[in-house]
Symmetry: C2
Subunit: 340 residues, 2 copies
DNA sequence: CCAAGGATTGGGAGCGCTCCCGATCCGTGG
DNA sequence: CCACGGATCGGGAGCGCTCCCAATCCTTGG
């Protein structure tokens, strides 16, 4: 099938039109140095007159680079996708990429066929690097990319030791300080609603919860742990369940702000007052956390820095050809509001 | 900066390794006809042994096509992004694209700079066509793409006459039949919560509402119309407002299921029973509509067909070089549940 | 056994750009 | 007025692939 576009002028035509050599035009469009100002102007005029647009395929063939990076989402059920977390990350990545002149391409990988297709796309040189979001425990994609020696940076990690570069947050520390805060507030029956436990981040938060309890000399009880999938609905359900098992609960650490919002509803439905009867802490510090009733104490994740760090790692890897893996763990911070 | 990847084998090397000509290898990897089975096998083996992956830049330079289409989102505030509508569309587009072998790339355009960058990317030939979602009234991007003669298909349209191909739903008809249904149910004070009115779809739904009232010989009152931005929160607010102005409301058509869910909450808070006191109708028929209390009567949009239609139009345009604009209006359907 | 004609193959000619080296220009100091 | 060295330029040599035509290989039918 012929999907060709009508004849766009080529660099050579621009050169002829401006009465200069190809090299000069190339220098101008890449705004390289070493072009006399008058020449640059003449070339620029030719470009404008002809409506010239560089052919990116030719450029990347000759220059051996694509000037694009892919952001891959592998979340099979898309739930993450609707989370504000996602859009904030994308925004911050976009910002961090602005002055590199590279395009950010989002790609969805929902099946093996799509994974394969993407791999061919990436190995075929259409992107210079790959960013991966919300990678689940058994996902082979990161390793396949490493195999192909494509610069790759994960957001979060699949497990404790990961042979790929990643940026992660200090989930353990965040959860720990949140629970310690509950202890300081005098809470004694502290439960937690975790995220999906095949996500390493969720496990880390659970570990932080346990560590804080241990630190306070309190016993960890499995029945005080309920799992959610980060949605408000599942948070509500988990909270209801916990209340049933332990009517005397007086503190809860939720997997995310959204989950916490669900938990708040369940508590309200059960006639508990927050924070008088029960203290609730969220995770993420999304805008939502400010608007719940009462506003949520939560663990802030430095999303803006996440984007910057990911891009920085990726650029470094692109620079030197993926000879080492780097890890960045960003510090989290407890933001105290009225729910505790 | 050197973002080059280590030497990948080239087609020529594969040819040498398999002791055949370049053309033959090319035929094999594009599984074209006219290659003897034994030859094909030999080539395939060489490909596997060398771990060959075609260089897509070279392919698209020589073949004058990119084998990729972009899905552009211009929603400035991302609210749409979190809507299930969005992810369903993406899924259906992905499905429709599966057997064409093309990659679907999502791109975000949030500023003029990003619009410009994307335009260069597209005009530079990195994609064969462009799909645009949720285009707002004054957005110049579709025209810029048309100008560049890039095959383009909109989802929805900016106004009644649009010189670009698009796929849209019969929003007028959907709203009309929804309101007629309310009338049939004996409702007499019927209000509507619209979407953002700079979206043509929202205007069409409003028009359908008005038409149905006129058809029933009822008067249209501006005070029975409230605007929302499709979120649950804004739906709740709009409903509260409407109730204040017209305590005797007995029927509501909401802008979307999400908005309707918000409206339901506001009604509950105001002590109204649904459907006994007030009938509520949503729009979209998302999974959500089944799970509200009570389950929503709603206008179903044929999302799966939307994706298929968009891809079909795009392929047609790519085939023949954008010589005509095509419009497809998909029929909507009222799904009656318990909220009316 | 031979020629005709379809099935396979090989490989030249680009696609449009970047790299880079050698050529050309121009201003300066002697 | 001339040699010299840095600032500018021009354009050959690819980058790795597809297209397409001419060359070669097999089958048939006579």
């Amino acid at each position: 099938m012929g999907r060709r576009r009508p004849g766009t002028p080529t660099l050579e035509e621009v050169a002829a039109h401006a009465r200069v050599g190809r090299g000069t035009v190339s220098r101008v469009i890449n705004n390289a140095t070493g072009v006399k100002e008058s020449t640059r102007l003449a070339v620029q005029r030719a470009i404008d007159e002809l409506g010239y647009v560089p052919n990116l395929a030719a450029r990347s063939l000759a220059g051996r680079r694509a000037d694009a990076v892919a952001l891959v989402m592998t979340e099979p059920d898309w739930r993450q996708f609707a989370e504000p977390f996602f859009s904030e990350i994308v925004t911050s990545l976009g910002d961090a990429l602005t002055d590199t002149g590279m395009q950010l391409l989002l790609t969805l990988v929902r099946s093996d066929a799509e994974r394969q297709r993407f791999l061919e796309y990436a190995r075929g040189g259409r992107v210079d690097g790959v960013l991966l979001m919300s990678v689940h425990a058994g996902d082979p994609l990161p390793d396949m990319l490493a195999e192909a020696r494509l610069p790759t940076v994960l957001l979060g990690r699949r497990s404790g030791d990961e042979y790929v570069s990643y940026v992660d947050m200090d989930n353990v520390g965040g959860a720990r300080s949140a629970v310690s805060h509950l202890v300081q507030r005098g809470r004694r029956v502290i439960a937690t609603i975790t995220g999906p436990l095949d996500l390493h981040a969720a496990q880390c938060r659970l570990r932080g919860y346990e560590e804080a309890l241990a630190l306070a000399g309190m016993k960890v009880e499995r029945t005080r742990v309920a799992e959610s999938d980060f949605t408000a609905e599942s948070g509500r359900r988990a909270m209801a369940e916990l209340l049933e098992r332990h009517p005397d609960i007086d503190g809860v650490l939720a997997a995310s702000d959204t989950t916490a919002a669900g938990a708040l509803e369940a508590l309200r439905a059960a006639g508990r007052r927050v924070p008088e009867d029960v203290s609730v802490i969220g995770f993420d510090d999304f805008p939502l956390a400010r608007r719940t009733e009462p506003p949520l104490t939560t663990v802030r994740q430095p999303i803006e820095e996440v984007g910057q760090a990911m891009i920085r790692l990726l650029l470094e890897e692109m620079e030197e050809g993926a000879v080492a893996w780097r890890h960045v763990i960003l510090r989290t911070e407890l933001v105290v509001r009225e729910s505790t």
